[in-house]
Symmetry: C2
Amino acid sequence: MKRFVVVGHLGSTDPDFSLNNLPGAGRMDELCRCVAASLCLSHGIRRDAECLLVLLGGPKAPKTIRFSGESVRSLGPDERNVAGLIKKALALPCGTVFRESSPGVSVRKGGLAEVLAECGCAVLDEGGEDIRGVETVPETFVLSDHQNFSEEERGLMQDLPACSLGPCILHADMAIVVLHNELDRRESGWI
Amino acid sequence: MKRFVVVGHLGSTDPDFSLNNLPGAGRMDELCRCVAASLCLSHGIRRDAECLLVLLGGPKAPKTIRFSGESVRSLGPDERNVAGLIKKALALPCGTVFRESSPGVSVRKGGLAEVLAECGCAVLDEGGEDIRGVETVPETFVLSDHQNFSEEERGLMQDLPACSLGPCILHADMAIVVLHNELDRRESGWI
């Protein structure tokens, strides 16, 4: 399993955000691209991958939406398609246990701390070890959206291994693409 | 200069496509993501990069839209933002010489043959040489959208060097992200 956890610091937890203004919904456009980068191939779905969006925007925050490649259906890579699934998830009443809103899409109350307690994570950080030199690539990566991690978040993750991808600071969705490429190569003996 | 040429086999040349249905405009969503992947960093624009969209859909095809990182302004990475700039370009009457429709965005009549005549290109192809082993990475890459290159296109490019990125077939925008990462690393001595 490959898992990408994206912290959307302003990401809307209100299902009534407009599909015509995804950037205005706490940069929902970027979060949608992260889902597509995590799960979509040119002609197929990565069945061994998951994307968790940790949404911290609005009075109902924190909420976490999980997209599972194993069981998701009708997932197009365009932002609007993914955003429709997010709206549906946010409209579903939920507790602290994941509840399915669409095939392969689930939602729960809770944020980064809950995810960290469940998964052996690494954090993506420009000061981390070059991913190409890492002996064993971790199963789960935590990434931030357009904002830096907060002090509190850094505190939660201070003991986690940190990896970096290159000299340029990329959007989170781009970072996921690069991570997948490194993992694909290792799995297939391309390296 | 890094240049990414994306052939949109069904990409609309009609400016009246709907911003609410980018996939229906000949997979304009994917072409928009290619522009963002070519030019956008987390907090900035890649000033040394260009993206050329070769649009082959509709009666006005072929048309080519060029996005220049050097001079583009107001470029957000979300699909809808880029699509707005494409609509504006397609609405501008043009001949066979690039004409600017917005800062850093230009349009002309003509397709892949014209681009190939102007640039020293390589083609991205799953059977090509692994990019990590290529001694000198070419300046310009030609990529296809969700469709394979046509026989005619393959004929035009049969003598070009071919590179591949890994064992999985990616969307064109994802391929651009991986290419940039390789180029970034080489330029900065990360490899």
